[in-house]
Symmetry: C2
Subunit: 359 residues, 2 copies
């Protein structure tokens, strides 16, 4: 182990070649944010500005994916990415969150026992819709595709991006043969992609995670988590990333579907305090701390998507009533640096700050 | 909030001026690692190579601090930093970890009930020793100095560095009037410095934390957590840091006091899996996951330093027997990029990789 050998930074040609494959001008990707902030309008605006927009389709039926793709294409003729969750639903005995939920349901004027929401559509149907849509990029979270699924995406000329929260996961994705890895640092908002080991040991900061995946895995790495401005983008490139993915940074764009109460909260000191919680969906995700996340701290929940279904009415009622104490407000740790700008203006500002060429 | 204004990167002159105050050539600080890895030999070697060595004195009596300082000065005439913990011991009712500890004590051949270790020496006596030693730099962790204590350090011409794990803490330190802030990102190994709010919401990645403190607080920021090579150092400077602090990166240096079993573990895949645990000391700290950390997961412990005292014999016996399943092995998330080099060679390699001038 006596070596001073440096990890080489990615050559500029690597970035150029990767951008050519993405079909975009800028190595700036708007992250998928299923269930609210990401909209066809946001993805289209990011695309028009030279970045790559993403649409999270994890909760959509095949027909809804078809419609979303059609709408996005009607707004802009630019490449975009679709994202799905690989579900390996946990088989552990579910805890019963009913007493906590009943208390909050009562506050929201809901009957103490409710109808659980619908389970997400089948992954196979969703993937079929993705193959029909033929987006430039398909990204997936929470696990590994089957080799046959990867082959189908490849055959459709779709660039495939897997999500890693640890070096182990990045190695597994590289062994599967994906085209690129989104390194989801612990700063990132929303669901954690962890699929090997436990969430707690895979909350690895973007600085450490990006660098070790770049050093050990020989495919392009997209750094994600806590990147909010050109300095963050330059830092990610310094670590050897080939592109960056920003979610929280886009949440105040007028094109984003971010809930008005969530928007207001993002501009408050409350946004400095995020936690990783299973309260809303049964899967670890980073959001602004509130009464709901506090109530489930140290409390085990049923697995995803069972908890997601059990809290469906509660989440809808809390959002309808603008109750930030009970709403789901996925947010990354970069929130204190949020700017309220149209998406295209933001993309161009990020590119200028990072010293990237803009046409 | 409609603004594209960029946070300006620190001017090179700021770094030069800060280095002049530190009295060193390179903006590379070896982190304090109380209780093992940091030694006078390590601090001296880092100092000779142009960096700033640190000595963690949190567990030492005033006399031990005097001796440590004398030994360090006998090895090298270079500036160094001393570090202390500000203790605001938690007043919550202590849980009783006795059953878990008794089980492990039995495995280690210790009587099931033992003598608790000694409490750490008083902070006032420790600080008096620091003032006698007059190091170039004094850093503190876990809280705020009293203004009178800061004045005394200032009068002794000691540069004072506070530790922040959140923007709130950085603002509190700036209001106190420290000279610089060590931004302890969530990647960092060892004890978390959190003193406002809860550890869970202050586990902020180095990328996000460094950038927001630089943007919002107008004193030099020392980035810490997950930095292992020149690319990491360059990335930290890109975020606007004025210097960097590395702990884990130095743990395999021959000059470090790292336990042989811990050294071997650092080179194994186990080092990829660290967790933040209160198992060993009662205070949240990042170390390699093992049976001891697993046993205390979700279990509340007595506060620091009570748990530290209760586990003293167990920790000593586990270390003596090389039992990595029960040892305390503080480690940061950058471990997969560890290199086994003499400290001076490592400092020079880091500087060369980062493009820093070396004489």
């Amino acid at each position: 182990m006596l070596s001073t050998s440096m990890v080489r930074a990615k050559e500029p040609t690597t970035m150029r070649a990767f951008l050519d494959r993405l079909g975009v001008q800028l190595p700036i990707i708007q992250a998928p944010m299923a269930g609210g902030p990401d909209t066809p309008e946001l993805a289209a605006a990011v695309g028009e500005a030279g970045g790559l927009g993403s649409l999270g389709c994890a909760y959509l039926s095949a027909e809804q994916i078809d419609a979303l793709v059609a709408r996005t294409r009607s707004l802009a003729g630019k490449p975009f990415a679709l994202n799905l969750f690989i579900r390996e639903d946990d088989a552990t005995a579910p805890a019963d969150p009913a007493p906590i939920l009943a208390m909050f349901r009562q506050e929201l004027g809901l009957p103490s026992q409710g109808r659980p929401g619908k389970p997400p559509p089948s992954f196979d149907a969703q993937l079929a819709a993705v193959l029909r849509a033929r987006p430039r990029v398909f990204s997936f979270t929470f696990g590994l595709l089957k080799p046959s699924q990867l082959d189908e995406l490849r055959a459709a000329n779709i660039l495939v991006v897997g999500t890693a929260t640890s070096l182990d996961e990045a190695e597994a994705l590289a062994a599967l043969g994906v085209d690129a890895i989104a390194a989801q640092g612990s700063e990132a908002g929303g669901h954690r992609g962890t699929f090997i080991g436990r969430t707690e040991e895979s909350l690895i900061g973007t600085m450490a995670l990006t660098r070790q995946i770049v050093a050990k895995v020989n495919i392009p790495v997209i750094a994600a988590g806590g990147i909010m401005d050109g300095a963050g983008i330059r830092a990610a490139f310094g670590l050897g990333a080939t592109a960056v993915q920003l979610g929280t940074a886009f949440m105040l764009c007028p094109e984003a579907g971010t809930h008005p109460a969530h928007r207001a909260h993002l501009l408050s000191p409350e946004a400095r305090r995020t936690v990783v919680t299973r309260a809303f969906s049964g899967r670890a995700a980073r959001g602004i701390r509130n009464r709901m996340t506090d109530a489930f701290e140290g409390v085990s929940t049923p697995p995803f998507p069972v908890q997601q279904e059990l809290t469906a009415e509660l989440r809808a009622a809390a959002a309808a009533q603008g109750r930030t104490d009970l709403m789901q407000m996925w947010t990354g740790q970069g929130a204190p640096l949020l700017r309220e700008l149209p998406a295209a203006v933001l993309v161009r500002a990020l590119a200028a700050e990072a010293g990237l060429p803009i046409t």
